[in-house]
Symmetry: C2
Subunit: 145 residues, 2 copies
């Protein structure tokens, strides 16, 4: 008995299994991230396992915040597995740096927002700490912003 390998599926099904929306799949094809799949007699796209795997790769990469161009490079690497993986490595490392920087700045932001909100007496706008702090950056505990 043959295992239930997914045969060729139409775009809606590809969207369902990959979690990528239909127009987004078409968009990925348009920008050359996903190769053009074969078409049915009625001109519908039919995705096989290889396409679905690639789509999953793209989706996962996007979830990790990699940019399209970075993903393009990563996919190229995946297609040529003999090459050294240092480019992949450095792309991931760069992304990690970004994420760390972003976390740090968001934590500072969070502190600033909390200070604003906690200081607010919930009266009129005239005494509102939120508006007050926004108008005068000097009232910030100078987060890096």
């Amino acid at each position: 008995m043959p295992i239930d390998v997914p045969g060729d599926v139409p775009i809606g099904e590809a969207a369902r299994v990959s979690g990528v929306k239909v127009p987004t799949i078409r968009y990925y094809e348009e920008i050359g991230l996903l190769p053009e799949p074969p078409r049915s007699d009625g001109n519908r796209r039919l995705y096989g396992p290889a396409h679905l795997a690639r789509l999953a790769f793209i989706r996962h990469s996007r979830q990790l915040g990699f940019e399209i161009e970075a993903i393009r490079t990563l996919l190229d690497l995946q297609d040529n597995p003999g090459q050294p993986c240092s480019p992949a490595d450095s792309i991931a490392r760069r992304r990690l740096d970004e994420v760390e920087a972003r976390i740090a700045s968001l934590i500072a932001l969070k502190a600033e927002l909390e200070r604003m909100i906690d200081g607010c007496a919930h009266g009129s706008v005239a005494e509102c700490r939120v508006i007050d702090v926004l108008s005068d950056h000097g009232k910030c505990a100078h987060a890096d912003h």
Copy 2:
């Protein structure tokens, strides 16, 4: 002796003191966030202290990550100081929630990226942990992504 209150300054100077780029200032005017300033004889924009204060408010709000529409509301509130400040409060609170959610998801992301990078043996793509994890979400320590 008069204090050195900034007189009317051209857009370049406004950009310098506010830290908002020239085209961005014009953009804020275009979308009605910053009122149209008076013009010089030669049709140049001239910003007075009120404009500069508003610009600083906008810039600070953007740095804290508020959306343009939220800033529009905040500016309206600032213009009508008699109103209750609860709308400002809730805008800030919503932003805080977003920031907290974002921090949490970025921390999970960071862990995932670190795992990928640490696991990479720096050999060829064929054994690259980075590419490997990207192709198979199952290899993630299932962060919420």
